[in-house]
Amino acid sequence: MKVHEYQAKEILRRYGVPTPTGRVTDSPEEARQIAKDLGGRAVVKAQIHAGGRGKGGGVKLAKSPDEAFEAAKAIIGMQLVTHQTGPEGRKVKKVLVEAAADIAQELYLGITLDRAIGKPVLMASKFGGMEIEEVAHRDPTAILKEPFDAIAGLQPFQARKVAYALGLTGETHKKAVPFLLALAKAYVETDCSLAEINPLMITGSGDVVALDAKMNFDDNALFRHLDIKEYRDLDEEDPLEVEASKFNLNYIKLDGNVGCMVNGAGLAMSTMDIIQYAGGSPANFLDVGGGANEEQVRNAMRIILSDPNVKGVLINIFGGIMRCDIIASGVVKAVKEIGCTIPVVVRLEGTNVEEGKAILRDSGLAVIPADGMKDAAEKIIAAVAKGGN
């Protein structure tokens, strides 16, 4: 799960990570007041779940409360386009108004899981403020990596080592060490999958401050962080994906016209792949999961069909935990309920396959049966082409 910058900063402050003072608002009037409270100069920052806001015009420096009002007025409600939002951009609902800082240096810090070793790794670079991927691409040695033990936590010697490698000395070094320890503690204790500070600011007077903060959380661990779960912002997610998540369905919307319903993530991905291989293009990823019930299958079908781009549906089930009869009766119910008029190709295999096929056969619906994935992909693409409007 992703959260907004202002929410990530709230969490980090609880762990003792210094951030600029500021407040979030959805009103330009209030933005003016916040700037006044901060002493006049402020930075107004769009709050969306995507990076690259600065380059896209979503971060503005205001030299007075009136300028803060103008900046907030321009940003709130805008459709902010960045390299991560896609061309349609993301509507900004809130801005964070923060004290404008006196920046001497911008560094980069990030913590994520190093899968190859099964440990969190602290990454740091002198080149903050920019696309860290670009930096990594140009010069991989510019990013320092310090893996640490998640159970013991980041140790002070590691924090000292990283702070020295960042070129920090004296009082600044002394402030950087607790900063790093606090960030690592927050990462582990809140079950983050990513904690990124870019830029990490060194002020003119040598203070160490998180100017920006990005935190992603392990969805599987949210059950023990109900406070963080509260931060979920459904407006930042695709409406169909939100709808699917209500039924514990794993749905990701794509751009094509062949809807897919599959059990198992690997098979769902390769169903998308084979649709493309056969000359079509997938409209979505959808894994109905291991133990899906009829109700979930019915909703899965409804969600696929509510995407207006979908011109045909491929159902590909290889039952293990999932039983084919459950899929079949869910599909039959959904199709009857919605009155689906586009072609549906069904490929069933595995647990209770005969019962599943019988349910489809006896339903009287015009579903097209298929043998194997290749046959299924070819049939749905042919049927969509024939329907071709």
Partner: protein, 292 residues
């Protein structure tokens, strides 16, 4: 060392009294697996279709001699269940549970580091099956398998069944099939399985099925090139997956431009592995690899 399963394998099912636990324990028993016990804290003394239920894994092991565990414990308690089985001396733990927090798995790995004789397979996996011994610890449909010579290892459950179906149709059959699971931190990796297949006299050819995310396929490719003479075919799922999105599996994500299918396919091909372009061609690709 041969397959991790044999006719000596005696299974304790953790979470036997749950819906999925019961369904698959009984399916395994029907197939021929010795399912000797179940564990559900608080339900000790009851039984599920003749399978005795114990409160602790330690008791189950002491009473029945169970030497393998099949785990269906719900995510918040699953890591605890794995560690309990390891502590009770169960040598092979197959964790089916999906949705275990990464930090819990990191703790499990640290716990297992002190117990080098314990093998954990999974979590978030379909399990392991050896058709020649009629042993199945997992959720795979038994009827698609045939005793034979292909070792199959995969990060995905249902995609494994696809490969099984194709090798059965081609008359090759399977030696041992292993799902290592779709999570970013897991117990057994590709190389552990490839090493076993290398030493397993029953295995004459290998299918390795990977997917986007992480670098396990690249590491396996390097190992294959240096160590393996048996023919290997592969498929990588997720060529059409958009970057930055988790494709169902917690571990299936292209992040920071890393972990793409293209990179993995290239690494495998460079190591001499034949990679199928389509999931429908996994079996045929293996035939080509066998013919050399």
């Amino acid at each position: 060392m041969a397959s991790w399963l044999s006719t000596e394998t005696k299974v304790v099912v953790q979470g036997l009294t749950g819906r999925e636990g019961k369904f698959h324990a009984l399916a395994g028993r029907d197939y021929g697996t010795q399912v000797v016990a179940g564990v559900t804290p608080g339900k000790g003394g009851s039984n599920v279709e003749g399978i005795l239920v114990f409160n602790t894994v330690h008791e189950a092991v002491a009473e029945t001699g169970a030497n393998a565990s099949l785990l269906f414990v719900p995510p918040p308690a699953a890591a605890d269940g794995i560690m309990e089985a390891a502590d009770a001396g169960v040598a092979l733990i197959i964790a089916i549970t999906e949705g275990i927090p990464v930090n819990d798995m990191i703790r499990v790995k640290a716990f297992l580091a002190d117990r080098p004789n314990v093998r954990l397979v999974g979590p978030n996996c379909p399990g392991v099956i050896r058709p020649s011994a009629k042993v199945k610890l997992g959720i795979m449909p038994a009827r698609i398998h045939r005793p034979g010579k292909v070792g199959i290892v995969s990060r995905s459950g249902t995609l494994t069944y696809e490969a099984v179906g194709q090798t059965t149709a081609l008359g090759l059959g399977q030696s041992t099939c292993i799902g290592i699971g779709g999570d970013p931190v897991n117990g057994t990796n590709f190389i552990d399985c490839l090493q076993m297949f290398k030493d397993d006299p029953e295995t004459e050819a290998i299918i390795m099925i990977g997917e986007i995310g992480g670098s396990a396929e690249e590491e396996a490719a390097a190992w294959i090139q240096a160590n393996l003479k048996k023919p290997v075919a592969s498929f990588i799922a997720g060529r059409t997956a958009p970057p930055g999105r988790r494709m169902g599996h917690a571990g299936a994500i292209i992040s920071g431009g890393k972990g793409t299918a293209t990179e993995k396919v290239a690494a495998l091909r460079a190591a001499g592995v034949l990679v199928a372009d389509s999931p429908a061609l996994i079996g045929e690709t293996l035939l080509k690899a066998i013919k050399g």
